[in-house]
Structure formats: structure tokens, C-alpha cells
């Protein structure tokens, strides 16, 4: 395997990075962990003239401040998410997702920014991030804007990023009061697996009534991008977190998803699995809140 030739640039500031992107636009690709980009260049899917490496930029920090929520720098590795005590405490679904990606080597190299920008339909980070109302900060020489991750990923490997923009960080608001989030992928083996389906849930209970106050469910690998189960979410809110409510919501999830048949699984099996995962994750989340 050899890569097509390119010029390598490693800017020392985000201003310099923005300048390079403004100058070279579609002719460049951003390099973070490289676990996708290097493979895609080897397969000649991308033939950039310039590869812009983020390694000299201070974009790997993970910070949490009550009232302002969680900020994850674009170049934070999946391993660093998996090990972050604050993410484990407040955003457990992200730990569950990070721990499932690739291998220890891939997790040490791959980044949150890459996982979001490469927008694979079976990427593990977007479903839990979407249930947590994550937004991505996109920066260019023109300025900065924030977009909900749900709107940022627009299709299979497609995003709303402009050619002169880079993803600077992912922002996740404070957890809802009396809430819990959970994520589970499902594959045919335990390690280095590409999911056939995954489900993330984030639910809050009303402490006075005990009923579901808020609910978000996102499903991965069953549509061109991680999709919300809006009808299933609506079926939960205002109802008691009983087995019956959860079973009904899980059934709605399996109807709402839009899976395809492929070499990993049939569409009907994926629908079945989505229902199973949704039921398990909702039960786990409710148990975590009430325990």
C-alpha cells in the first residue's frame, strides 16, 4: 500500500489552520488520527494536494463546567473519552460508545472530530451525542458557528461542513436533571466489529410524578446517518417508566428505523435488534435514575 503524493502542513495555530483551509479549500484534507483518512488515501478515494495535520494545535482538551456543560476538542482521542472521569460520571453513554470503537490501537489514534466528520452510518459516537443534544463548533477565517450534530451529519459520509471550515470542538450541555443516558451497539463478535445496529437513549424522569419528562433516542447503522426515533420518544413522555411503556417504545423504534439488507445483516434482523437494544437501554437508563 502506498499513498498518492501530497504536501504535508502542520499549522501551529487555529488562525493559521483557518488561513490554509481558506486558501486551499477542496484541495486539502484534515488529518487527525488518520485511521480513516490514510486508508481512504491508500484506496485513492481521496487524493488531496495538501494534508493538514492537527497535531500541533491545542484541540485535544476535554473540559466540563457546571452550567456550561462538556467541551470535547476535535482532536481528543476516543481513548481519552473512554478514560475521562467527568464523562464517565455525567455522560456514561459516551464511555460505552468510545469503548466499543475499533481496537485499543484505533482508540488511541482516532478522534471525536474524525468520528463525527467522517460520518459513517455505523459510527459509534453520533447516536449518544445526538441524544445528549450535542452541537459542533465549526470555525473558519469567516468566523465560528454552532450546529446541532443531528443537523451537521446530512447523509452517508456527508456533513454540512464548508470547505474552508474545521470542526473545533463538540459541545454537550449539562445533563438533564434526574436523567441517565445509555448506548449499546450490536455486532456479530465482541472485538473490532462494525455494528449491524446501535441504540442510544437519554431519558429524564419527573421527580414529583415519576413519569418520563424528557426522552431522546437515536439509532445507528439503520439509516444513512444516526436517526432520532421521534415517535418512540413521544410515546414515552408523560408516561410511567413501566415495562409496558418501554416495550411499546421499543416496538415503535423498530418500526421507525430505515435499515437496509447488506452483507452484515438483513433489514428485518436489524429492525428486530433495534427493538431489543432500545428496550434494554431504556430499562438500564430508568434503573440508573431510580437506583
Amino acid at each position: 500500500m502506498s499513498l498518492p503524493p501530497f504536501e504535508y502542513l502542520a499549522p501551529g495555530s487555529t488562525a493559521e489552520l483557518a488561513g490554509l483551509l481558506a486558501a486551499h479549500r477542496e484541495r486539502c484534507r484534515i488529518l487527525a488520527g488518520g485511521t480513516d483518512l490514510v486508508n481512504w488515501m491508500a484506496e485513492k478515494i481521496y487524493r488531496p494536494d495538501y494534508v493538514i495535520d492537527l497535531r500541533k494545535l491545542p484541540l485535544a482538551a476535554i473540559t466540563y463546567e457546571k452550567g456550561r456543560g462538556l467541551t470535547i476538542g476535535a482532536a481528543a482521542t476516543i481513548e481519552s473519552l473512554e478514560r475521562s472521569p467527568v464523562i464517565r460520571e455525567f455522560y456514561y453513554a459516551l464511555v460505552q460508545a468510545a469503548g466499543q470503537i475499533g481496537s485499543p490501537q484505533i482508540r488511541a489514534m482516532a478522534t471525536i472530530g474524525g468520528n463525527c466528520c467522517n460520518a459513517s452510518p455505523c459510527a459509534d459516537m453520533p447516536p449518544p451525542l445526538i441524544t445528549l443534544e450535542a452541537r459542533v463548533a465549526l470555525t473558519s477565517a469567516r468566523g465560528s458557528r454552532e450546529v446541532p450534530l443531528e443537523e451537521f451529519i446530512t447523509g452517508n459520509r456527508q456533513t454540512a461542513i464548508a470547505p474552508d471550515e474545521f470542526l473545533e470542538c463538540v459541545r454537550v450541555p449539562d445533563p438533564w436533571p434526574h436523567s441517565a443516558c445509555r448506548y449499546s451497539p450490536f455486532g456479530l463478535r465482541a472485538a473490532q466489529e462494525i455494528d449491524i445496529a446501535s441504540v442510544a437513549v437519554n431519558v429524564a424522569l419527573d421527580p414529583a410524578t415519576g413519569l418520563f419528562a424528557k426522552a431522546r433516542i437515536a439509532m445507528g447503522a439503520v439509516a444513512p446517518f444516526a436517526m432520532r426515533a421521534l415517535k418512540a420518544e413521544a410515546s414515552l413522555v408523560g408516561n410511567a417508566p413501566s415495562g409496558e411503556t418501554i416495550d411499546q417504545a421499543a416496538l415503535v423504534c423498530s418500526r421507525e428505523c430505515r435499515p437496509i439488507d447488506d452483507l452484515r445483516a438483513s433489514a428485518s434482523y436489524r429492525r428486530h435488534i433495534v427493538g431489543v437494544l432500545a428496550r434494554r437501554m431504556l430499562r438500564d437508563a430508568v434503573a440508573a435514575i431510580t437506583s
Partner: protein, 164 residues
Amino acid sequence: MKRVIELTINGSAYDVVISPQDLLIDVLRQKLDLTGTKKGCGQGDCGTCTVLIDGRRALACLTLAIACEGRQILTIEGMEKHGVLHPIQQAFIDKGAIQCGYCTPGMVLSAKALLDEHPAPTEHEIKLGISGNLCRCTGYVKIVEAVRDAAARLQAAADCGKGA
């Protein structure tokens, strides 16, 4: 455009002429004759090209050599010291954890990364630690035994050091 970069490998500095698109695995094997690191799948799945960069596991087949300037690279050649094998390497030999040997360099470096962080890992932690390294001889039972044995040897050596 070719350029000269300095790579720090196993504690030694090497000046090497590379192109920006050169992968670390090819620079190690072809330009520096450090052929201990193996190339397997070439797409980041098999783990046999595992090296440690600044102490963390990295796949040399997915790493640009030019991106390694200023970083500490450890390959299998850097494990032995003064002609004495590292306790992990010796444990692999003593426990019969090597069959064809192709996965061994990557396995040893993954084991080192694991034991540097978890000196006394459980069997489950050992399995997770080497989950990114495939052994197509399927000699996993012996490999897990070797890592457990290496952990005990390293612990004993550390305890001995404390006593001295």
C-alpha cells in the same frame, strides 16, 4: 517533495529522507532496516505493525512518518537492553506463546502498553489489551499466559528494586 526529518526511535535519533506520503511502517522497514515491526493487513485491522509513540499504541501502517517528528517511537528492537530480552519477550519464549511469530512484535508492544498502565491486569484486561492484535495461528491461550507471567516478572523485579 522529499525532505530530511529526524525520527527518535528506541532512544536514538535518525536523520531520514522521506516524502510526506511515506508511512511509518515503510520507513522503519525499508529505510532504517528495522524489520522487526511487521506489515500485515496494511489497513489498521491486524495490529502486527503496532509500535508505541510517546508511550501509546499506534499502528505504523496508518501513521505518516512525517507526523512523528519530535515524538518518541518504540519498536520491538528497542525492547531488549544490552543483549538481554525484555521480561515480556522472555515470557513469550518461556510460555511457548510464539508459533509463526508474525504477530509477536505487535503483541509484545501491546502487552507493554497494557502492563505500563495496569501492572497486575486481570485475564479480561489482558484479553482487552491484546484485542487489537490478531494471531492467525490462534495461539491466544499461550499469549495470555505469557502476558500474565510477564506481569509477575515485572512486579517481582519492581519489588526487588524497592528492597535494594
